[in-house]
Point group: C2
Chain length 465, copies 2
């Protein structure tokens, strides 16, 4: 190895390991020549090589700095078949979920972040004290829509974003999945057609399958979200009864629609009196200091059913979510009473107290920092181990990466082989009514990026070759 | 008032108030004559009058004793139309539920027992300590079917009755209503026909309505339950895809089928491979020291989906139930994952600990004694205040009375007028797909029988006249 290559290797290792971070200044050419006894041309050759690799940049009259890795190319806009279809995806989803359940596997395919990062002690304290002080009569009085105190706390969180939501509009549910299912049952009947994203969250596909709905899959850009032109065309072609959409940190792509686009989405749907089921379960996991508003903020007609949850951001396993259901609130509360009567009252009261007194905001800040850091490390690990040519959009939050591999890759086969190595992944066909996206995988970076995760990523890279 | 009438009134008051109880011996004729300075004929006339009223009885060579009130006549076997029908009952049910929600009304129409009788302190203690000790990874590992520890505890309760149920067969749900809804979704598709009791629990009617099912209402006797001959005829006439049935303490009648009849029910359905959804939420509220077995005890083919709950007997508002789903267990767990992902884990763990250490059995014994006592007082109050001619079956547990009033009575009108007096009742049409049973009402005796309850019963009696 030549001397300049040794320098490149050393510096690259320091950058990759995080010893040198984005924005850190490298030694000047003169300093490096002196301390390493190198010629200026050798030093310049090393720096130039690092610059070409996108690891450092020279700033005029300032020197060399570690720079942000140039973003890998983003997957293209999806092009699902424009026709309406029945859904058949459940078996595949259940097989994948089942595989992720064991604690022994490397959870790159998990749907959840690491359960170790949540404020369990505070949660338990507020749950216990709320249960002790619970008024027995509240078991009757807090039937749907649910605990008034909790609905007040949720309403206040909307108000922090400048959105006014009346507590009467909020129905408490056993997590967002129940909220979304109830919302769908409220605004559709068997045989109806709904518009959904493609790729999309499999829970949406399963709900459509179970309720006997047809879906029209709308092209969805991995950074910009739903294609509104395609949506408009679908509306003019089909009798769309509802639109189910994740406008922020879409699952699986991570796309966040701009606020202008969200406003336009609401306008298009409102013009046709089409309800929007806004699945917003990752809203609290946006890395930006000022998070993007949901479409609900632009809803003037009460047509947006905004579904939220504490399962991703505060209390997994407690099963608490809600829907701000606009004009459908009363109907939806009835569906809730019919299908599960009520949401566990001690859980409602405990979370309400946690929101009020438990340092939710500081927990969120810590959690977001952690995820942002893990995202950077995961991207780095993928860059190191995956064969070149993959595409990935870098989401502004959450804990998923949606990766487009070479066209020849069969992610179901990769999934099968990875499992044999004790690694799970989310194969692309889980996210499509027609089992498309065969060369895509969803990777979870919501777990501490241990050496084991890096080894698993390396193994995936081998399988992808 | 004549002297014998004064004696009658005094003794009647002592019997009604409980100062004199069933089996107590009354003073001999000679003693009464002496202490009250009465003639023997006056005393005998008083005793004869009480005897005619059914309050006392003379036993040869022993004297007079307070006797059990002869049971009022029982309503006749219901005769619903034998044809299959779509259901339309929800609005009525919701209006009635809404009216029962206020703490200000007299809750004779409530669906719940008084919330003051449950072991809230113990529940809160076990909930808090379970949440504190919860393994964060259990939020992933305890996805449906649910917490293994809780399923073990439930399996042990079956074993107390001599029924062996594998933990693999048990799916934990958010109360029995979710269990029943999931069970129905697992074994039927939209457009199918199911057999149900008549009258029946409105939750069953609402589920059928929402899932687009047709129902065949089977005649149901207020003491002996489902008419098996009629069920067999329905099976031969229609393509019945499932039977939803409360075999013990049926809602609203209180009927409990004999074990022989339950065995026969399972035999009939098994012969046609028809799943039985056995709604058994009042099982723990049977007054008898040896409670009746469920049909599940006789299930050899895994066709019985036995649905239970802790909401009526231990922890209302916690929302915890289960289904022992036989051969449908895996399918049902998938429906659960699709519709609400999981049941709240701290709740599962807390109740599991309560079952193990919390004195559930002694709570149940106390609660049953309380209900049995309140039932006797409620029947007495009704006897005093209702116009004669009503019919009621006296159930062997639970907290409902199903009362057939004079044919001219319109229970919806009584419901409306009673509400104006701050009293709720359960009007009969709530319990029928075709809004039949207009002259029936369901009364709740699950709340302490205060003077206010007695006054409310008196007011109802006036409205019924």
């Amino acid at each position: 190895m030549r001397r300049w290559q040794t320098v490149v290797q050393e510096l690259e290792r320091m950058i990759r390991s995080g010893s040198l971070r984005v924005g850190d200044r490298l030694p000047s050419v003169r300093t490096l020549c002196r301390t390493r006894s190198l010629s200026p041309s050798t030093t310049l050759r090393a720096y130039s090589s690092l610059e070409q690799a996108g690891l450092i940049e020279s700033r005029p009259r300032s020197g060399y700095f570690v720079c942000t890795r140039p973003k890998p190319p983003v997957p293209l806009l999806s092009i699902p078949k424009p026709s309406s279809t029945r859904v058949a995806v459940s078996d595949l989803v259940f097989d994948t979920l089942e595989a992720s359940r064991s604690r022994e596997v490397v959870p790159l395919g998990s749907a959840f972040p690491s359960p170790t990062v949540f404020p369990w002690k505070s949660l338990a304290r507020y749950l216990g004290s709320s249960a002790r002080r619970m008024d027995p009569w509240a078991t009757v009085g807090s039937l749907p829509p649910g605990s008034l105190e909790l609905r007040r706390q949720i309403s206040r969180r909307y108000l922090r974003m400048g959105i006014t939501i009346d507590v009467k509009e909020i129905i408490i549910t056993a997590g967002a999945l129940e909220a979304l299912n109830l919302a769908l049952q409220t605004v559709t009947r068997s045989g109806d057609t709904i518009a959904i994203e493609s790729p999309t969250f499999y829970g949406c596909l399963q709900a459509a399958e179970r309720l006997g709905l047809h879906v029209v899959e709308i092209p969805t850009h991995p950074e910009e979200g739903l294609d509104l032109g395609a949506l408009s065309r679908a509306i003019s072609k089909y009798s769309i009864r509802a639109c189910w959409c994740m406008t922020t940190l879409q699952h699986p792509t991570g796309a966040t629609m701009s606020e202008d686009k969200k406003r336009e989405l609401v306008r298009i749907l409102s013009n046709h009196e089409i309800p929007l089921l806004e699945d917003d379960v990752y809203a609290e996991l946006q890395f930006a200091p000022t998070p993007a508003l949901p479409s609900k903020a632009f809803d003037k007609k009460g047509l947006v059913l905004h579904c939220g949850s504490f399962s991703k951001c505060l209390a997994p396993g407690y099963r608490l979510g809600w829907v701000a259901a606009g004009r459908f609130a009363e109907d939806l509360a009835r569906r809730k009473i019919e299908s599960s009567l009520a949401t566990s009252l001690p859980i409602q009261l405990g979370i309400a107290q946690m929101l009020r007194f438990g340092g939710y905001q500081s927990h969120l800040a810590r959690f977001r920092r952690l995820l942002a850091n893990q995202q950077a490390v995961a991207l780095e690990s993928i860059h190191r181990h995956f064969p070149p040519g993959y595409r990935v959009a870098v989401p502004a939050g959450g804990y998923f990466l949606w990766i487009e591999c070479a066209p020849a890759v069969d992610s179901l086969e990769v999934h099968r082989l990875a499992l044999q190595s004790g690694i799970t992944i989310g194969p692309g066909p889980m996210f499509s009514a027609r089992r498309e996206y065969r060369n895509f995988i969803r990777l979870n970076y919501g777990h501490p990026w241990s050496p084991e995760m890096d080894r698993a990523t390396k193994r995936l890279g081998q399988l992808l070759r």
